[in-house]
């Protein structure tokens, strides 16, 4: 056998050079002969009945596309099918797309848009969280019954705001007819989501829709379900004009109209016995879906399942509601419900300890989950849990104890916070087995070149490099013998969406199995297919939310250190340390890239990124007002990885992408608590909030 370095040893990213030189073609870099442009007319009203539409007479070559052009179903195929492609007679949020204007000259398109008159009858918008459209409930062991015997009950409510994905490349897509095949190229995470949505909207047979990925300039969940809407609209336009059509969002319309992270309100209640132990938790998770339910039910269930974070609590009663309002729809965003919940449980554990007069760190450590503990949904943590060692490592690297002692005792407006967390890898529950049914193929040509045929999208996380490395390593061939083009649904099977920290663990696991079989195949030119099968020990009862919600979990510890300016309430992030168990890193440098970037988003979610709506109108409408960190805002970050191979992951790999985001907000919020010696129950912790807390807040 040839000498092979450890799989984790970094290699150059396969697409680095084309990206650095600007040659990589993102969707807006692609032009086609005869291509037209489309622009969207959007609702200016949060809730209204469309009484009349006045469309101007159109010049030759221009078209208006609305609900009347939908040959199939006026619904975007997603988990919960309530997203209309175009509204018929009622608008339900500001920014809702009503129609497209399509044509060659952008100035003419603008003139047409300005000449269109939509007459509305204003209807009462609902912004309160009262219209529950999905309600879930589960219990663990005795549920909330121990509350009757509690010595003390501690309760706090936690709130989190919107977060915008703020990928630097806005949403965009090009559609065209290739013979009679509807072809869509786009900035997308999930080629088959787009394909299936367009199929349903057109009512066409399977072979007549083809979806191709362009280079994706960041996604973070924002290009999971949302591009399906754009694709359906664009497909209608393409049919009407029979020419290629390009639809690229301006930054402002991307911010006001595309999905964002669900705002949440999480009520936590603990039953405490006479010795100060937690007997039971009662949790209610409320999330704001905006005007469309879409993925909200799945977001809610992931949040609810994460109710105890990285801890084991014996008895649980967890309920949750998705509320529909007349505000912008919320949807997928890296972490998918977990960041909200992780903030709530991490702060609550800290607050329980403080309320009981106990040392928070020791108190929390006592509840950290161990192997064979029951999960919140009464499944089992089957694999080893390294959290004790990881926490020790994080504390050593950050000098946590020494700093915490110093900052707690001196009033110098410095603080250090540590979060413990986990993230379930792959789809929740039996989603992988029942809904996704991932399929992968490897094809070896007579020349020996191997093609990886999967629908996974490289949106910056480096999956194209990682998959090629994986196969090359397993087959012991040079990486340039392995090909992995941008996915095209005409060429690759449906290996599922690029979401839920599933790509390396689930899809990579299948690819590794296929590679193993390929390695043993005597014939050179051959194709190998692998399909997902749920490990038999994993059982999930969807209706009762009981059992193993995920096949595996990744674990993490974040430490964040801050200094607060008492004059202005401004926070400086001084340092950040992370320890992760992602099973096995397929490339340590790329994992670090995920770690740094995820933590930056998580920290910023906790203290920097403010987005609110006023009467349904998003107030921060561009990158001047929606603030994401610059280089000057981010501290140096140190990341340490613990190997803990997972049996079904390739080389033991588990999920990475989302894990790195979920612990940032509680870590910085705890650090700020220490710095200002006030209790924090809301993120983002803005200077405005800090000033308010320092003036009026409680210890």
């Amino acid at each position: 056998m040839k000498f092979q370095p450890d799989i984790g040893t970094p290699i150059p990213r396969v697409d680095a050079k084309e990206k650095i030189s600007g040659a990589a073609a993102y969707i807006n870099d692609i032009d086609m002969p005869g291509m037209l442009y489309a622009k969207t007319l959007r609702s200016k009203m949060a809730h209204g009945k469309i009484i009349k539409r006045h469309y101007p007479t159109l010049p030759e070559g221009y078209a208006i596309i609305d609900y009347r052009h939908i040959p199939g179903t006026n619904i975007v195929k997603a988990i919960y099918e309530d997203w209309q492609i175009f509204p018929v007679d009622e608008v339900r949020y500001i920014g809702e797309p009503i129609l497209l204007v399509v044509g060659e000259n952008k100035d003419v398109i603008i003139d047409i848009l300005e000449a269109i008159e939509i007459t509305y009858e204003e209807m009462e918008p609902q912004f309160e969280w009262i219209d529950s459209v999905i309600h879930y409930h589960y219990e663990k062991k005795h549920g909330s019954r121990p509350f009757a015997d509690a010595n003390r009950i501690i309760e706090h409510t936690y709130e989190t705001g919107y977060q915008e994905q703020a990928y630097i490349e806005p949403q965009g897509m090009i559609g065209y007819l290739d013979q009679d095949k509807m072809t869509l190229i786009g900035s997308i995470q999930c080629p088959y989501y787009v394909k299936n949505a367009v199929l349903m909207a057109l009512g066409w047979e399977n072979e007549r829709v083809r979806v191709i990925q362009a280079h994706v300039g960041g996604a973070f969940g924002g290009k999971e379900e949302y591009p399906s809407l754009i694709a359906c609209q664009l497909a209608m336009a393409v049919i009407q004009v029979n020419k290629p059509v390009k639809l690229i969002f301006e930054r402002e319309e991307d911010i006001i109209a595309s999905t964002k992270r669900h705002p949440a309100q999480i009520a936590m209640k603990a039953a405490i016995d006479s010795e100060g132990h937690i007997m039971a938790l009662k949790v209610h998770v409320g999330i704001d879906a905006g005007a469309v339910i879409g993925l909200s039910g799945v977001v809610l269930s992931r949040a609810m399942i994460a109710a105890t974070g990285a801890y084991t609590i014996e008895n649980l009663d967890v309920t949750g509601d998705v509320y529909r309002t007349h505000s912008v729809p919320t949807g997928a965003f890296r972490g998918f419900g977990a960041p909200q919940m992780m903030f709530a449980i991490e702060m609550f554990m800290e607050h329980i300890a403080r309320n009981l007069g106990k040392e928070p760190l020791a108190y929390r450590m006592a509840y950290v989950a161990k192997q064979y503990d029951l999960t919140a949904t009464s499944g089992t943590f089957r694999d080893p849990i390294l959290m004790q060692k990881m926490i020790e490592e994080a504390m050593k690297r950050s000098r946590y104890e020494e700093k915490a002692l110093q900052y707690q005792n001196l009033h110098r407006y410095q603080g250090i916070g540590m979060s413990f967390f986990l993230h379930g890898c792959g789809f929740t529950g039996s989603g992988e087995a029942t809904t996704i049914k991932a399929k992968v193929r490897l094809r070896r040509e007579a020349s020996g070149v191997v093609h990886i045929l999967i629908a996974a999208v490289d949106m910056g996380q480096g999956v194209r490099t990682a998959m090629r490395k994986l196969v090359a390593h397993m087959l012991e061939v040079p990486i340039d013998q392995v090909i992995y083009d941008l996915p095209d649904t005409d060429c690759v099977p449906d290996s599922g969406p690029t979401v839920a920290s599933r790509t390396m663990m689930i899809v990579g696991g299948l690819v590794a199995r296929a590679a193993q079989r390929l390695g043993m195949e005597p014939q050179i030119a051959v194709e190998i297919e692998e399909t997902y099968h749920q490990p038999s020990e994993i059982q999930w009862d969807e209706a009762r939310m009981q059992g193993d919600a995920y096949p595996a979990y990744s674990w993490g510890v974040n430490v964040v250190e801050v200094a607060v300016d008492p004059v202005t309430g401004e926070v400086s992030v001084v340092g950040a340390w992370s320890v992760y168990d992602v099973g096995k890193a397929i490339d340590t440098l790329m994992v670090r890239g995920q770690a740094d970037g995820g933590l930056a988003q998580g920290i910023a979610y906790g203290y920097l990124e403010v987005m609110r709506h006023h009467q349904g109108k998003i107030q921060q409408r561009n990158l001047t007002d929606y603030i994401i960190p610059t280089a000057a805002d981010m501290p140096p970050m140190e990341t340490y990885l613990f190997d803990n191979p997972y049996a079904y992951g390739p080389y033991g790999a588990k999920g990475v992408g989302e894990l790195t985001l979920v612990g940032g907000a509680p870590a910085i919020a705890k650090a700020i608590e220490m710095a200002i010696k006030r209790q924090i129950t809301k993120i983002p912790v803005t200077p405005e909030m800090i000033m308010e807390l320092m003036t009026h807040g409680e210890d």
């Binding site: 050079k17 600007g22 630097i168 490349e169 970037g597 988003q601 990158l623 140096p636």
Partner: protein, 157 residues
């Protein structure tokens, strides 16, 4: 419409053009130079950055009138230099590229910085990158890449 004389990627050019056209649109739509990207259209993100007389500028906020008499270099033009090769390799080695959409702008920001300050400190690098948003990396790997490029390229700037 008016005629302006300027330099683009080392070539003198004379354009009969609407003076208010954004340089970004001219580069992308008229010259098919797609390296400069549009991320926000208002000078916040830096994805559209180009060099004007060796200094970084946001091409989305430069009207064609303002390039008259100046030298504009895009990532495509800069890619022909040895300095680019050094920066490129440092970005690869440090894992500074993820989705890549901000990357050409980051390279331009690096060149603009090193042209004026060949051995920058970390805080000078942070100032130099302050108009270039990246949502993928958290910036540290980019900062490391620039530090490495400065070290490897000693004498080139």
């Amino acid at each position: 419409m008016a005629k302006i004389e300027w330099m683009l990627n080392g070539t003198p050019i004379s354009s009969d053009i609407d003076l208010s056209m954004r340089l970004l649109d001219y580069l992308r739509d008229h010259q098919h130079l797609k390296g400069p990207k549009e991320g926000c259209g208002e000078g916040e993100c830096g994805a559209c950055a180009v060099l004007i007389d060796h200094q970084i500028a946001n091409s989305c906020l430069v009207p064609m009138a303002n390039v008259a008499g100046h030298e504009v270099v895009t990532i495509e033009g800069f890619a022909k230099t040895k300095r680019y090769q050094i920066i490129q390799q440092a970005f690869i080695d440090c894992g500074a590229v993820q989705c890549g959409f901000c990357t050409p702008g980051m390279i331009i920001a690096t060149e603009s910085l090193l042209h004026h300050q060949p051995q920058p400190t970390i805080s000078e690098i942070k100032v130099a990158l302050s108009g270039n948003l990246c949502r993928c990396t958290g910036y540290n790997m980019i900062i490391e890449a620039i530090t490495l490029a400065a070290k490897r390229g000693r004498g080139e700037w």
